[in-house]
Symmetry: C2
Subunit: 686 residues, 2 copies
C-alpha cells in the first residue's frame, strides 16, 4: 500500500543527526536505534560518526536506497536537503524541523516554497514542525519523544496535530500499559495530511481503531470522505481542540449566529460516524478500549456490590441518554434463587456488600444471557476479594467474548492489582462511573451511526434553481426562489401604489402585514418598516402612507413596499420555527432547525444537520426538543414536509456557492401547513 515504505522502511537516513545528546537530532537517532532492524544511515557534514554509525556529508553519498529520510536541521536548510533526497529518489521524508508557517512571516515564505517544490516532486512529506512517526509492529520509532517512554504495541493508531499533546499522551499511555499500532505527529501537514494517513490506516490490519487530536482541518471535503469510509471499517475517535474560538466578525443572520465554529466540526464528524469526545481522559480510555466490543444496544445492565456505586452509575447512564435494561421476570426469578433476600434484583442489580466472587459468577452467568452491555461494579468492602472477582469477570469474558463487559473497580490500593489484571488480559477496567458510561455511549453511537442510509433523502426530487444575484435578497426578491425550490411561503406581493394596494388586499384579505423591502435588513428593523396586524382598509391605507414616509425620510433606494397575508391566520395552534442555512468555511452548507420568531436569538434551541440527511438523523431529529415542538403543533406529514424543506434548502445552497446564509424565520408550523413568513438570503460573509 501507499505508505508501507513510510511505516515499514527498509532503510532510514537521519539528516541532521547530532553528536550533542541534548539535541533533537540525537534523540531521533537514539530512538531509531532502540528497536529498528533495518539499515540506518546518518547524514551530518561535520561529523565522522555519530552514536557509532558512520556519518555521510550528504545523502547523495550513500550507496544504498533510502526509503525514509528523517530531517532535523535548521528550517532554512530543509529545502536544499529535500532536493538532495529527491535526487536520491528517497520515497518519504519526515521533516521534524520547525520554523515554517507556524511562526508566520519568513516561516510562511518557507512553507510556500516547500509547497511549490512538493507540487512538482515525487517525494512525499510528513511535517514539517512535527515529532515524527512510530510503528510498533515492526517496531520503528522515528520521533524525538523521550527515549525513557516505552511505547507498547497495541491496536490503536493515534494521529495528533499537537506534538506536545502527543508526547504527553504517549507518556501517560506508557504508565498505563496502553499500546498503539502507529503514532503519527502530523505537524503542518504541508503534503501528507490526516485524511491521507486515515486512508492508509483504514486498510492497515494492525490498526483496529483510530484516535485523532485535531485543531483545524484545511480540506473539509477530503477529510470527511476519508472519515466516512474509515468509520465503515473501524471506530474513529476525535478530540477537537479550539472549541472556544468565537465565530468571526459580525453576524447578520440568525442561523449564522447560532452556528459556532465548533458546531460545524462536531456535526460533520458525527455525521461521518466518528465518536467525538471533549476530554483528554475520554480520548485516553477510547485509545485503550475503542476496538474491544461492539455495543449494539443502549440498554445497559449494572451489576454491583455497592449500592452507592450503582446509584451514581445509573445517574450517569441517564444523563448520557442511555437506558437501564429492563430485567425480565424470568431473570429476576433466577437471580432471586442465588442472591440474598435483601438484594436488589432489578437494575442496578445490587448483590450487597458481602458479595463473594462466587456470587459475582452466579449473577454474571444469569445476566450474560441478556446479551446487553454490562457494567460490573466492584467496591472494596469487608470480605470482598478484588483479584478473585476480576478473575470471575475474565472467565465470563472467555466464555462469551462478544459480551460487552465493563468492569468498574472503585477504590485505590485494594483494587489496583485487579484493575491491572483485567487490563493485561485485554478487558477494559475503569476507576470512575462517568468514564465507563462515556465509553459505552461512544461505542453505541459508533455502532448505530457507522452505516447511515439515505432512503428518504434519495426519494426527494429537487429542482436545481440558480441564485443568479450578486447581493442579499429579502422579501419578494427572496421569496421567489423558495417558491421555485418548493418551500411554501406566505402569500405576498409588491405594491405599486394605492390603487394596486386595494386590488391586492381583495386577494389576500385581512389581517395582513405591510413591509418595506430594502437591501439593508438591519435598517428596516430599526426604522419601523414592518406593520403587522392590519385589520381593515383604514389601517391599511394609513400603514401604506406611513411606510412611504419612512422610505422618503430615510432616502432608501430600490425600496419596495410589500403586502403579505398573516401566516398565522386561521391557525388555532401553531409554533414559530426557524429554518436556516449556513455555509461553514471548512465543511460547507449546514441546515438549522430551531425555535423561531423572537425566541430564536435568546433561547437558541437549534439542531444543525448536513444537507444530505440520513434516515437515522431524521429519526433522531424527531426526538429532539425541536422535533417534539414541531410534532406538538402538527403531525408526521407536516414533519416530513419540513424534512423535505431541509433537503431542498441544502441542495439550493449546494448548487449556489455564492449564498452564505439563509433565514426562513418564522416558519409557521400548524396542523395543516408549514409556511415561511419571512425570507432572507445573504451573499455577504457573515
Amino acid at each position: 500500500m501507499l505508505f508501507d515504505k513510510l511505516f515499514n522502511p527498509k532503510s532510514i537516513a537521519v539528516i541532521g543527526a547530532s553528536r550533542n545528546p541534548n539535541k533533537v537530532g540525537s534523540a531521533i537517532l537514539r530512538n531509531i536505534k532502540l528497536t529498528y532492524k533495518g539499515k540506518i544511515f546518518v547524514v551530518n557534514p561535520f561529523a565522522d560518526q555519530i552514536q557509532g554509525i558512520k556519518s555521510y556529508k550528504s545523502i547523495l553519498d550513500i550507496e544504498d536506497n533510502i526509503d525514509v529520510a528523517v530531517i532535523s536541521i535548521p528550517a532554512e536548510k530543509v529545502l536544499d536537503a529535500l532536493k538532495e533526497c529527491e535526487k536520491k529518489k528517497v520515497s518519504f521524508a519526515i521533516i521534524i524541523s520547525a520554523g515554517f508557517k507556524e511562526i508566520g512571516g519568513i516561516g510562511q515564505e518557507r512553507e510556500n516554497e516547500l509547497k511549490e517544490f512538493l507540487k512538482r516532486s515525487k517525494i512525499r512529506v510528513v511535517g514539517p514542525n512535527c515529532l515524527g512517526i512510530i510503528n510498533t509492529d515492526p517496531s520503528v520509532n522515528m520521533t524525538f519523544v523521550d527515549p525513557n517512554t516505552t511505547v507498547f504495541k497495541g491496536s490503536t493508531a493515534f494521529i495528533s496535530q499537537s506534538g506536545a499533546l502527543l508526547s504527553a499522551i504517549v507518556d501517560d499511555a506508557s504508565m498505563n500499559n496502553i499500546g498503539f499500532s502507529k503514532i503519527i505527529s502530523i505537524g503542518n501537514s504541508t503534503d501528507i495530511d490526516e485524511a491521507d494517513i486515515m486512508d492508509y490506516l483504514r486498510e492497515d490490519e494492525k490498526t483496529k481503531a483510530i484516535v485523532l487530536y485535531i485543531e483545524g482541518i484545511t480540506n473539509g471535503e477530503k477529510f470527511l470522505k476519508s472519515l466516512k469510509e474509515t468509520t465503515k471499517k473501524k471506530p474513529v475517535v476525535i478530540l477537537k481542540g479550539g472549541r472556544s474560538n468565537e465565530t468571526s466578525s459580525a453576524v447578520m443572520s440568525h442561523t449564522g449566529s447560532l452556528a459556532g465554529n465548533y458546531k460545524a466540526y462536531q456535526l460533520a464528524f458525527e455525521e461521518a460516524g466518528a465518536i467525538v469526545v471533549s476530554n483528554v481522559d475520554d480520548l485516553f480510555n477510547f485509545m485503550r478500549d475503542a476496538a474491544k466490543f461492539e455495543v449494539k444496544t443502549n440498554e445497559v445492565v449494572i451489576v454491583t456490590n455497592s449500592g452507592g456505586g450503582g446509584v451514581i452509575t445509573a445517574d450517569h447512564l441517564y444523563e448520557a441518554g442511555l437506558k437501564r435494561a429492563e430485567i425480565s421476570e424470568e431473570t429476576v426469578s433466577a437471580l432471586s434463587k442465588i442472591l440474598p433476600a435483601e438484594s436488589n434484583l432489578h437494575n442496578p442489580i445490587d448483590m450487597l456488600g458481602d458479595a463473594s466472587p462466587e456470587r459475582y459468577k452466579e449473577t454474571l452467568d444469569i445476566v450474560s444471557n441478556l446479551n446487553k452491555p454490562t457494567i460490573v461494579i466492584f467496591s472494596p468492602q469487608e470480605m470482598s476479594m478484588p483479584i478473585d472477582t476480576a478473575k470471575v469477570i475474565y472467565d465470563m469474558h472467555l466464555k462469551k467474548p462478544e459480551l460487552p463487559l465493563f468492569p468498574l473497580f472503585l477504590g485505590g490500593t485494594n483494587v489496583e492489582k485487579a484493575r491491572r489484571f483485567l487490563i493485561e488480559k485485554g478487558l477494559p477496567a475503569y476507576y470512575y462511573p462517568n468514564e465507563v458510561v462515556d465509553i459505552i455511549k461512544g461505542l453505541y453511537f459508533y455502532y448505530s451511526h457507522r452505516n447511515p442510509t439515505y432512503k428518504r433523502y434519495s426519494k426527494e426530487r429537487v429542482k436545481i434553481v440558480k441564485f443568479n444575484v450578486n447581493k442579499n435578497a429579502f422579501g419578494i426578491n427572496a421569496k421567489q426562489f423558495f417558491d421555485k425550490i418548493g418551500i411554501e411561503t406566505v402569500n405576498g406581493m409588491i405594491i405599486k401604489d394605492e390603487k394596486d394596494l386595494k386590488e391586492k388586499i381583495s386577494k389576500l384579505g385581512y389581517p395582513c402585514v405591510l413591509k418595506i423591502s430594502s437591501n439593508n435588513v438591519a435598517h428596516k428593523n430599526k426604522i419601523g418598516g414592518v406593520i403587522t396586524g392590519i385589520k381593515n382598509e383604514e389601517e391599511l391605507i394609513k400603514a401604506f402612507k406611513d411606510l412611504n414616509e419612512i422610505i422618503k425620510k430615510n432616502k432608501l433606494e430600490n425600496a419596495n413596499i410589500e403586502i403579505y397575508e398573516d401566516a398565522t391566520k386561521g391557525n388555532k395552534k401553531y409554533v414559530e420555527i426557524l429554518l436556516g442555512g449556513h455555509r461553514d468555511p471548512i465543511f460547507g452548507p449546514m441546515i438549522a432547525l430551531g425555535i423561531g420568531g423572537i425566541y430564536a436569538n435568546e433561547i437558541g434551541e437549534v439542531e444543525f444537520v448536513l444537507p444530505q440527511l440520513s434516515d437515522q438523523k431524521i429519526e433522531e431529529l424527531k426526538d429532539t426538543k425541536i422535533g417534539k415542538l414541531i410534532l406538538s403543533a402538527s403531525n408526521p406529514e407536516i414533519f416530513d414536509k419540513i424534512i423535505s424543506y431541509i433537503i431542498r434548502l441544502g441542495k439550493f445552497m449546494q448548487v449556489n456557492p455564492n449564498i452564505k446564509d439563509i433565514d426562513l424565520n418564522p416558519l409557521i408550523v400548524s396542523q395543516s401547513s408549514a409556511v415561511a413568513a419571512d425570507f432572507k438570503i445573504f451573499v455577504e460573509a457573515n
Copy 2:
C-alpha cells in the same frame, strides 16, 4: 462542643467484638487498636479475651466511664444493648449493625422501635447500618474499613450516606495521599444526621472543607439551615446520588413537570452556597483541594509549554463559563522581553516546547502580579525538566501563598514524580484539563455565593393572602388571588348570560377570548373550551353559544364561561413567559421562570429559584437565556416587576402550604407590562 466525646472519646467499648478475624466485630477492634491512645473495652459474653483485651459479658460490668460504644451485633439484639448503654450513661453509640429500615418489613419495625427509644433517651446514636467514624487528629478509627487502607491526616471531612462508596473513596484517597480530618458513615441517620454533623464540623478547627455524598434528605429545612451557616465559614462540596429518579406520578402542571426530583436538590444546595458536583472524580479532587485557595475572580491565566494543552484547557474554561484573563499591554511587554519571539504572549501564554524551569520562573514572576487564578501547564518534551519546573511553581507558591496556582502536569511516567512532589508540598496537581477547570469553577462559585445578600428581597412588601380553598382553582377563581398579591393579570369576568356578555364586551373590547372555567383543566383543553381571537359581536355570540353547548354536552358541573381581554393586544413585540410555583416534598416551594405558551412543554428552558431571592441570584437570572429573552422584549423596570412577582408568588406559597403547584402561563411580557393571561392553582399532589 456537642460531639467532642464522639470524635475524641476517652474510652471506647466495642460491643460485639469478635474472635473470628473475618467478622466485622474483629475488624473494628483491630482498627481502633491501630492508633487509638485511650481506653479500649470489649464486650462479648462468649469470650474471655479478644485480641489480647479482656472481654466483658455486659457493658454494665465495666467500671470505667464509656464515652462511645461501637455496636456490631445482630440487629435484633441492638436495642437491648443500647438500653444497657443508657443505663451505663454512655454518651454516644455507633450502631454498625444492618437490618433496619433499609431492608423494610421487620427491619422497619426495628427502626421504629429504635426511634421511639431514642426520643426518650439521652444517648445519641450514629447509624444504624453504617461503617462507623474516623478521626485523624487525635487518631481513632471506629470503622471496619480494610485495616490495610491508610487514612492520612488532612483538613477535609467526608460524610457519606453510602458505606460502600465511602470505603472505595477512602481506599482511593489512601493511594493518592489524600488526607481527611474526619470521616463519617452516616448510615440510616435515625438520630444524628448530616446536619448535626455539619453543625459540629463547622466549628471544628481541624476541618477546612466538608465533602458529602448524599442520596436523600429527610429534613430539608434543617439541612439547608445548617448548610447555609456552614458555607459562610468553609466550602461544602456535595455529590447527590439518585439524580436519575423520575418525578413521581402524573404531573398536571407545567411547572411540576419541569421540576425534576434532582432540580430541587441542586437548587437548594447551590442557593445555600454549596459546590455541587456530579462526578466521583470531581468529588475526589475537591477532597484534596477545596480548602487550598480562594478563587475571587472567574478570569483565569493559562501558562503553558504545550500549545495543544493550552488550547484544550481554554476550551474547558469557555465551556465552564469561565474567562481567559485579558493580559495587559504592560504584562505583554514584560513577557516579550523574556520569552522567545515565537511565543504567544496572550492567554494562553505559550512559552514553547523547550521552556526551561528558568523560563517558567520568569514568566510566573510576571503573571503572578495579575493576582488571578493561574493554571500552569507542563507537558514532557525534549529538554523539559518536570521536577525542577515543579520546584519553580512551589517557590512561587512560597513567595505568594495567596495566589491560586493550579499546576497541570500532562503525561505519565515522566511527570508523575513532579505531581507527587507538588501534592506533598500542599499544592494541587492535576492530570487532565477538565479536572483543573472543574475545581476553579467550583471554588469561584463558592467564593461568589457564600455570602448572599437579600436587599432587593427585603425591600418587597408583600401582602399575606390566604388561599382558603380546598380544591384546584382555575380562571377567575384563581385570578382573584393573583390580583390580591399584586401580580398583574389580564382583564376578565364571568359571564352570566348573553345580556351580561354584551355589557362586558363593551368594557373589554375586541379582540377577546372566551373560556370555560371548570375544575377539570385537562378536560377543558380536550373539549375545545377556549376560543381565542374573537373579533366582532357575531363571532362573540356564536362562541358563547358554542361553549354553552359544550358545557351541556359534557355535563360539566360548576362550570362558568369567562371572557378575557386579549393580553397581547396593542403589543407589537412581546414574549410568552411561564411563571410558576412548585412545592418540592423535601425543600418546599420553588419558583420557575421559563419560556411560556406552547413552547413550555417541549423546549422547557426554565430557571428555578428559591422564594427568597438573593441579590446575586437576581443578577444571575438576568444573564440566563430566560433573563435575556425577557429583556429583549422589555426593559429593566419590567424585569424588576417580574422579580417582584417571583417574590410575591414565593410568599403566597409559603403562607399557603396547601398549594402544590401554580402555573401562570403565558405571562405576556412586553415593553410596558408583564401580565398573566392564564392562571392555575393546584392543591392536589402533582
